[in-house]
C-alpha cells in the first residue's frame, strides 16, 4: 500500500499570545510542534504499512523549519518525507493550501490512501483534508476512529457521528481524516530517531509543481484575516475561601435565583 500522510507544523497552542501594541502574533520563543491530530495520522500510516506492506510518505506545506516536523514523522516510522515550501505559498488560506498539497500529491502520483489529522490546532478549520480530496476528486471519510479493513481496493472504516458512529465503505484511493480515538501514537525509538537524523528530505518549490499562479498564496486565498484581537477577558470572579459551610451557603444563595 502506498500511503501519504499530510502534516502541519503548528505553534504550541498553550504559548501563543498577542502583542498588545502591534496587535500581531508573538511568534518568537514559541515552540513548534506537529499538529497533535496529525500525530494520530502518522501513527495510523505507519501501522497500515506495517500491516499491509508498502510505503508511507509524509508531506508538509510550510516554512523551511517544518523539516523538523517531517523528521519527527520519519522517526515514528515514515519511509519518505517531502517538504513543500516556497515564498509564493505565504498567506495561503485553506483553499490555497488544499490546492498546493493536492498538486504535490498529484506529483507523487501513486497512492492508495491519504491520511490527515481531523484539524490543525492553530486554525481549527478541518477544511484542508476535504479540500485536498475534492481537488483530487477522490472520496473522503472524515472523523475516522478506526480502519477496520482494507480489501479489494476498498477501505471499511468507522466514522464518528454525534450519536455514535457509522460503518462506511469507500473505494480507493481515498482520503481519511482521523480522530484521536484511532490509536496511541508511539514514542519514536532510538533507531527511528537516528534514521530521522540522517534521512534525506525531498524539497519542492512552486516551480517543481506545475501550479497555477493565481491559485497560490495570498492571491489564491478567498478568505483573509481583516482583524485579530484578544477576546475580551471575562470579568473578575468572586473567589471565596474559608469554611466550606459558609462558602457553599453563599454560592448557593447567589446562584439559586439565576437558575430558576
Amino acid at each position: 500500500m502506498n500511503i501519504i500522510v499530510c502534516i502541519k507544523q503548528v505553534p504550541d497552542t498553550t504559548q501563543v499570545r498577542i502583542d498588545p501594541v502591534t496587535n500581531t502574533l508573538i511568534r518568537e520563543g514559541v515552540q513548534s510542534i506537529i499538529n497533535p491530530f496529525d500525530m494520530y495520522a502518522i501513527e495510523e500510516g505507519v501501522r497500515l504499512k506495517e500491516k499491509y506492506g508498502g510505503k508511507t510518505t509524509v508531506i508538509s506545506m510550510g516554512p523551511p523549519q517544518a523539516e523538523t516536523a517531517l523528521r519527527e514523522a520519519i522517526s515514528m516510522g515514515c519511509d519518505e518525507a517531502c517538504l513543500i515550501s516556497d515564498r509564493a505559498f505565504a498567506g495561503s488560506d485553506t483553499l490555497a493550501s488544499g490546492y498546493t498539497l493536492a498538486m504535490a500529491i498529484r506529483k507523487i502520483k501513486d497512492y492508495d490512501m491519504i491520511l490527515c489529522g481531523k484539524q490543525a490546532s492553530d486554525g481549527d478549520t478541518a477544511q484542508v483534508g476535504p479540500g485536498i480530496a475534492t481537488q483530487l476528486d477522490i472520496p473522503q471519510v472524515t472523523y475516522v476512529k478506526k480502519i477496520e479493513d482494507i480489501k479489494d481496493n476498498h477501505a471499511t472504516v468507522e466514522r464518528m457521528t454525534e450519536e455514535g458512529f457509522e460503518i462506511v465503505k469507500t473505494s480507493l484511493p481515498c482520503l481519511l481524516t482521523v480522530v484521536k480515538e484511532i490509536n496511541e501514537p508511539r514514542i519514536p525509538s532510538l533507531k527511528g530517531r537516528m534514521k530521522a537524523k540522517k534521512a534525506e528530505i525531498t524539497s519542492w518549490k512552486a516551480i517543481d509543481l506545475d501550479l497555477e499562479e493565481d491559485k497560490l498564496g495570498l492571491k489564491g486565498s478567498p478568505t483573509w484575516v481583516s482583524k485579530i484581537f484578544t477576546p475580551p477577558p471575562r470579568p473578575k470572579g468572586h473567589i471565596l475561601e474559608g469554611d466550606p459551610e459558609e462558602t457553599t451557603t453563599k454560592i448557593v444563595d447567589e446562584l439559586k435565583n439565576r437558575l430558576i
Binding site: 514514542i187 519514536p188 525509538s189 532510538l190 533507531k191 530517531r193
Partner: protein, 385 residues
Amino acid sequence: MDYLLTEEQVMLRDLCRQITDEKIMPIAAELDRTEEFPWGVVKVMADSDIFGTFIEEKYGGMGGGLLELCIATEEFSRGCAGIALAFSATALGTDPIILFGNEEQKEKYLPSIASGKKLAAFAITEPAAGSDASAMQTTAKKDGDHYILNGTKHFITNGGEAEIYTVVAMTSKDRGARGASVFIVDKGTPGFTFGKKEDKLGIRGSATRELIFTDCRIPKENMLGKEGQGFLIAMKTFDMSRPGIGAQALGIAQGAFEAAVKYAKERKQFGKSISSFQGIQFMLADMATQIEAARALIYASARQIDAGRTKNISKDSSMAKLFASDMAMKVTTDAVQIFGGYGYMKEYPVEKYMRDAKITQIYEGTNQIQRNIIALNLVKETTKS
C-alpha cells in the same frame, strides 16, 4: 551544567525524558501503592530500543556504554526509581554476560535482552551473606555435563519477572576467594522457583523476590568464565554497575528537587512565596550544588570506564555511588522539609522520593562497604608511591 554530551547521547536523554514524562510519571504513585510490575513501561522502553543502550550492535544493541546507561537510568529514576529498576537491574544482570560471556553465551542471551523481550537479574545476596558475600551457602555441584544448584538467594531485584538470571554460587567450599562461580539460569528451569515478593519501604514498583534452587540442573555451558572466577566476576560487575546506582540516586534527587523548587515558588506564607525566604533559598542552593557535584562525579567515572581506563576503577566508581546515594538521601529529606506538612502526606509526590532514596545507600554494596573499598584503594596507592 553542560557535560558536552554527543548528539546521540542527547537524543537518548531526550527520548528517556519523554518516556518518563509521558509514561512513567503518570503511573508512579499508583504503582507505589499497588506494587504492580510496570510491564507497560517495559514495552515502551523495548519499542524505543532502550534495552539495547548498553549492548553491542553485533548482538542487536545500540552500542552505547556506561555513560549512556547512566543517562537513561537518571532520566527514568527522576520519574520513578522502582519502575526504572526494571531497566537498570536488567543491565546489572546482563553485565556479567557482557564482561565474561563467551561468544555462544552472548549470542544466545544478549539479543533477547537488547530487544527488551526478556529482563535479567543478578543474584548474589543471601540471608546469611550480605556485605560478607563470601559467606554464601548456595552450592553448585558438578555432575557430569551439568551443575546442580541448591540454595536460596534473597532480595533479588526483578526476581520472578526476569527470564535470565546470573547467579553466583559456591563451586568449592574450601578454596576461599576462588570458591565461587557464576551461572546463567533461565526462568522455568526445573528446580528453580521463587519465594515471596518483598513488601518494601520504597522502590515498590520494582519486584524483589527470593530465588529458590532445589536440585536445579543447569548445563555446564551456562557457566560464565571459568570455575572459581565467581567473586572476580562479581567484583568486576559491581565496579561497572556502581555509577549506575549513582545515576539512580541522582535521578531520584533530581525529581525531588524539581518538585521542591516548583512548590517553593507556588507556596505562599506571610504574604510571599517561600522561595523568597533565605532559609529556603540556601536549602535549594545546597541541594542543587550537591546534585550537580554527584552528576559530575558519575559522568566522569562512567566516561573513564567507557574510555577503557578500567584499571583502578573500583575507587572511582565507589565514590560515585557513595556520594550520589548519600546526597540523594539528604536532598530528598530536604525536599520533604521544604514541602512542610504537605511533604509528609502521600498525596504529594515528595515523600516517595525520600523512601526510594534510602535503598541506594544500601544495595550493591552498602555505603560502609563503599568506604572500605575507597580506603583500601587509597592505602594501596599511597603504599605504592
